[in-house]
């Protein structure tokens, strides 16, 4: 199931779990200095 995640900064991403996790982790680390676990990334997501 495709999911969507949005960041307070305006960034958003939609995709399957694996790519969504990777995108969230990269965005968090690169833009906000955050380490996000896979579980946390999925918990942030909503069904697309």
């Amino acid at each position: 199931m495709r999911k969507r995640v949005s960041c307070d900064c305006g960034w958003s991403f939609e995709g399957e779990d694996a790519e969504l996790i990777a995108a969230v982790q990269e965005h968090g680390r690169k833009l906000h200095g955050m380490d996000v676990t896979a579980e946390q990334a999925l918990a942030m997501a909503q069904p697309a």
Binding site: V5, S6, C7, D8, C9, G10, W11, V24, H27, G28, K30, L31, H32, G33, M34, V36, Q40, A43, M44
Partner: protein, 164 residues
């Protein structure tokens, strides 16, 4: 990151950097950055130097800043937010979304208390006022500001670093 806040992607932590990326475009001060004209929040890990964190993440995502300076702090977002102003050369921010900075009244608190609420406008206004102060007080900052900035900052009341 706590369970409570997992419904959306948001920066948290006891110390957060709030970076205002500024550039002078056609004589106007623009707020820009990788988050567009939205404030850019960065988590500062325990034991990390907030200034070093801010400078490194600016370099990694935008480019080499002309000036990076902390301008104020406040209690917000569940922790302490340190505001940094990053002055960039116009060429470094050419492809980023941006909005012109509007003048704003500063949020004023009581003698022993912070203002009840602070929007982004007063934070940026104070950041520019502090930059104006630095431009007069710190030769390194004065010399590093890109062309046109000193004239723009003449229009701001110089203020030191402060608690908002």
């Amino acid at each position: 990151m706590t369970e409570r806040q997992l419904a959306s992607f948001t920066v948290e932590g006891p110390v957060q950097a709030e970076i205002m990326v500024l550039a002078l475009v056609a004589g106007d001060v623009m707020l820009t950055g990788p988050c567009g004209a939205a404030p850019w929040y960065v988590e500062v890990a325990q034991g990390a130097d907030p200034m070093a964190v801010a400078a490194a993440i600016i370099r990694a995502n935008v480019g080499e800043p002309a000036v990076v300076h902390s301008t104020s702090w406040r209690q917000a977002r569940g922790g302490v937010v340190l505001t940094f102003v990053a002055v960039m050369d116009q060429a470094a921010v050419g492809g980023l979304d941006r909005l012109p900075v509007q003048r704003a009244e500063l949020a004023r608190g009581a003698a022993t208390a912070a203002p009840a609420e602070i929007a982004a406008g007063p934070v940026i206004e104070h950041g520019l006022r502090h930059l104006a102060w630095l431009a007069k007080d710190d030769p390194a900052v004065e010399g590093a500001l890109p062309a046109g900035w000193l004239g723009v900052l003449d229009g701001y009341v110089p203020e030191p670093f402060r608690h908002l």
